[in-house]
């Protein structure tokens, strides 16, 4: 291993130095000479017809440069949706236009109606307050089931109703599943909600548009997880700017968690307005704006049934879900409740029959899209909850019931009834590890101790699997994706042997600048410090798809491996020439090319220099230079899995839940940097526990966003969480990518919510409580205790 860290080393992060000294460069830290500021006037009602927008007073306010409304965007496209779902009957989903500025109607609180560009931020805000908007308020559609009733107010007048699509999967199994449930020895049924969440990366979104008239070139600085995707969607579908005239830069980005994947109107606006006013145009979201304009997450209402035989073997799963799309289709919204959700309903288990029905519904709320886990938390939560309920109904230990139904280690590759083929895994092993690290045997004594203090103690287990490393392009293309999901890397070797890796992956906290060099350094046998990572700028990175779906190491890392392999293959030829040997006889070890079985060798740096100073070089056979690009398209998803245990104490007098311990035993395959992987698990667990206990995005019946700030939306704080116990020693390497790696970014957020809820229900089971919907606030827990009495 290189002295400063190769594969498997917990190398400390090089990016930390700039973040710890205030030298990070986030988008809001960028200021361009001559920039103007934009403030969006946003709808304060959920649904209404715009009769008139009077900007005349506002235009005369100090500092105002120009005010824009939808009239200025005639001929400009709407913000596109990147995934088309086909319904049970073979018809495409209903897909309304999502305008840059509201056209004719407003459809959710926070929708931008007009935009003021002014000399200062304050002047833009002041002028926006002087715009007079005449809106005729219409009834708001908030509840999904009400939205689907006959005669419900339509969110979009030009659609047939509020149903976006009615999806069935696997449709051919529908009757077989119904029959299995009818005939089963035992059926456990559970109705639950997966609460609506706001992703809340700590850095609010920012967009800066810049236009160079002399070159007819546009630049957009934006807080994005995937700048190339933004360039493609905005350039091709909204503004009609070819890629060679449009550069998108996502510099240091302060967290994403999914909500910075999507292309937003504000990005298109700033790009458009910069040309229209011939000034750079900057928008910085306030947190209040973020709550009403960042795409939200989850918001499913589900009924799940699990059929079991007399021995507790799972026979069939049937689930009916209503999935909230909000008022418009955000970039990947339709994929979340369908392909990222339905395909996970087999879980870790040999359940032979699965049927998933999803009705996606338009409502007068902010669009809902992927949030950490995206569909997989929704699947895992309902499955792991209904299994727990079944275990209790049947009097079987919940760990034992899971074990009886696990796919066994000798069954891989394992084809599920819901279209996936798991390449590898070992769920009994992760469960064994959990039993050990969570000291399950000691639980009874801990419970007795808690009860002696008047507290109820519960133990909750969950075992998740997820499909990530998103994703094989040909597969997702069949499923409705309007993009490929490969990743790219260019490896450029400098004349004296240092390397620059230009990756299409994007780091917004994941530590790519540290992890990726560890891989390259290991392959060549040089110090990781010789490798730099460039990302986040479409002008100097190859077309890439960005970071989400736990794909950076599995897909982006694999692209880097492939490009580095090409570099090594060429360097070996150069070395063979220098050593007057044949290519096959050259070995690369510790940065030295050696002729096998001899002491003849040439150093990595000398080979690199020869490539760029090709005086003694096989020019007739080989081009000079040492730079290679690879595009890697995965053969399959990767399938991390893990066993989680949560112990809680509940105060039966107040309903307050305290997490006493949280243990996670994950299988991520091979691990490049264990420190970073553990950090990703911690963060996912915190968000999963936040969903289970604290976080809830609430609309009232009129569509007002009740939880619109950190005073109303409970973010997990340091004293809400325990220290975590994590273990990643169970490793079944992925069989189809060159590093044998799986993704780790979403795991915690997927596995934690059912573990927490199972623990609380376990604590209160003897009082008759069978389910409580998230978040398990003291009020909800207390009410459940009272209702069960």
């Amino acid at each position: 291993m290189p002295a400063d860290g190769g594969i498997g080393a917990s190398t400390r992060r090089r990016e930390d130095v700039r973040f710890l000294t205030g030298k990070g460069q986030y988008t809001d830290d960028i200021n361009i000479r001559g920039q103007a500021y934009v403030h969006f006037l946003r709808s304060d009602i959920a649904h209404g017809k715009i009769n008139n927008i009077d900007t005349s007073d506002a235009e005369n306010m100090p500092g105002v440069i120009r005010i824009f409304t939808s009239k200025d965007f005639e001929g400009v496209g709407g913000v596109p949706c990147g995934w088309q779902v086909t319904d049970r009957f073979g018809q495409p989903m209903q897909e309304p236009k999502h305008p840059v500025l509201a056209e004719g109607k407003v459809r959710h609180v926070g929708e931008p109606i007009a935009a003021v560009v002014a000399e200062t931020r304050e002047q833009a805000r002041d002028a926006a307050e002087a715009i007079i908007v005449d809106i005729e308020e219409l009834p708001a559609v908030i509840d999904m089931k009400a939205a689907l009733q006959d005669g419900a107010t339509k969110v979009h007048d030009d659609l047939t109703g509020n149903l976006c699509f009615d999806w069935g999967f696997v449709e051919e199994n529908r009757e077989a599943v119904d029959e299995a449930i009818r005939n089963a020895a035992h059926v456990t049924t559970l109705e639950l909600t997966n609460n609506r969440l706001v992703a809340n990366p700590m850095e609010p979104r920012v967009a800066i548009g810049d236009y160079d008239a002399a070159r007819d070139e546009h630049t957009l600085y934006t807080t994005s997880q995937n700048p190339h995707v933004i360039r493609l969607l905005m350039g091709a579908f909204v503004l009609g700017i070819p890629e060679n005239k449009l550069r998108v830069i996502a510099p240091d980005v302060g967290g994403g968690f999914g909500t910075k994947i999507f292309h937003y109107q504000e990005e298109a606006f700033c790009t458009f307005a910069a040309k229209a006013v011939n000034r750079p145009v900057k928008w910085t979201s306030s947190r209040s704006e973020a709550f009403m304009s960042d795409a939200h997450g989850r918001d499913h209402v589900t009924k799940i049934e699990l059929a079991l035989d007399e021995n507790g073997k799972f026979l069939a799963v049937r689930t009916d879900t209503y999935a909230n799309m909000g008022a418009y289709l955000s970039t990947f919204a339709p994929s979340v409740p369908t392909w990222l959700h339905g395909t996970l309903m087999a879980g870790n288990y040999t359940t032979p029959l699965v049927y998933v029905n999803v009705k996606a519904v338009f409502t007068n709320t902010v669009p809902v899209d992927a949030y950490r886990g995206a569909g997989r938390p929704e699947a895992t939560f309902q499955l792991e909850r209904v299994i727990d309920k079944a275990a209790r109904e049947l009097g079987i230990d919940p760990i034992e019931l899971r074990r009886r139904n696990f796919i066994q280690p000798d069954q891989y590759p394992y084809a599920t009834p819901v279209a996936l083929e798991y390449d590898t895994g070992n769920y009994p092993a992760t469960m064994d590890k959990l039993v050990e690290i969570a000291d399950i045997k000691g639980f009874a004594a801990r419970k007795a101790e808690s009860e002696s203090r008047g507290k109820k103690r519960g133990l909750g287990i969950a075992h998740y699997i997820e499909a990530c490393g998103i994703a094989p392009s040909n597969l997702v293309g069949q499923l409705g994706a309007r993009a490929g999901l490969y990743e790219s890397a260019t490896v450029r070797v400098n004349p004296t042997g240092g390397l620059v890796v230009m990756t299409g992956s994007h780091s917004h906290g994941q530590g790519h600048e540290t992890t990726f060099p560890q891989v390259v350094a290991e392959m060549i046998g040089i110090d990781a410090g010789m490798v730099e990572i460039v990302h986040g700028d479409t002008a100097n990175t190859p077309m890439g798809m960005g970071t989400y779906g736990s794909r950076s190491i599995a897909v982006g890392g694999s692209a880097i491996v492939r490009a580095t392999e090409k570099i090594i293959a060429k360097a070996r030829k150069i070395a063979a020439h220098l050593l007057e040997a044949s290519d096959e006889d050259i070995e690369l070890k510790d940065g030295q090319f050696t002729v096998k079985g001899t002491d003849k060798s040439v150093a990595w740096g000398d080979v690199c220099l020869a490539a760029y100073v090709p005086h003694n070089y096989p020019l007739e056979d080989l081009e000079p230079g040492l730079e290679e690009t690879a595009f890697y398209d995965p053969a399959n998803f990767v399938y991390p899995a893990g066993a989680y245990a949560c112990e809680v104490e509940v105060d039966p007098e107040t309903g307050k839940v305290e997490i006493m311990s949280f243990c996670a035993a994950d299988d991520f395959g091979n691990i490049i940097n264990p420190m970073i992987v553990e950090g990703q698990v911690h963060g996912g667990l915190a968000q999963g526990i936040g969903q289970a206990l604290l976080e809830h995005c609430v609309y009232d019946e009129n569509g007002q966003l009740v939880s619109g700030s950190y005073m109303d939306y409970a973010m997990p704080r340091a004293d809400d969480l325990p220290s975590f116990v994590t273990d990643t020693s169970c490793q079944t390497p992925c069989t189809h990518n060159p590093l044998g790696v799986k993704g780790c970014g979403e795991a915690g957020a997927i596995g934690a919510p059912p573990a927490v809820v199972n623990a609380v229900v376990d604590a209160l089971a003897d009082m008759g409580v069978t389910h409580i919907d998230m978040p398990l606030t003291p009020a909800r827990v207390w009410s459940a205790i009272q209702a069960a009495k």
Partner: protein
């Protein structure tokens, strides 16, 4: 406009501000110190935490005009004179106490303030002290470890 002068990380900074200009905006825009971040608009998140006359303050809760004459310390002033990381900064790096880095300046400033008040805080005391600083990435686990390590080193 109001004329203000304050000492920021040991250097005098002056500027003309509106009455409504927040201290954080003055630091970011007039002083050009963009290490102090704005993560919310309700004084909840703590990303803008700095030291004013030696005490941790959320710089979005103070007007620039109120800080006239004050001694201000920001994240840019936390490194050692030779530019190397200070004890708390180094502990955050060593213990992976940051991911995206956006909340980090505020976390470091709060941690410094905690350790100035309490040289040997317990885990519970650290977690309680950090209530005013939200981190979305780390789950706080490694932030707590980093502060414990820094406390041990500072003795």
């Amino acid at each position: 406009m109001i004329s203000v002068t304050m000492t920021v990380n040991g250097k005098p900074v002056s500027g003309a501000v509106e009455g409504r200009t927040l201290l954080v905006d003055f630091l970011r825009e007039t002083a050009g110190l963009t290490g102090t971040h704005v993560g919310c608009d309700t004084s909840q998140c703590g990303a803008c935490t700095i030291h004013v006359n030696g005490r941790a303050v959320k710089s979005c809760t103070m007007l620039a005009a109120e800080a006239d004459g004050a001694e201000i310390a920001t994240i840019e002033g936390m490194a050692n004179p030779d530019g190397s990381l200070g004890v708390i900064q180094a502990a955050f790096k060593e213990h992976h106490g940051l991911q995206c880095g956006f909340c980090t300046p505020g976390m470091v400033m709060s941690a410094a303030s905690l350790l100035a008040e309490n040289r040997n805080p317990s885990e519970a005391e650290i977690r309680e002290y950090l209530e005013g600083n939200i981190c979305r990435c780390t789950g706080y686990h490694n932030i707590v470890k980093a502060i414990q390590a820094a406390a041990a080193q500072l003795g």
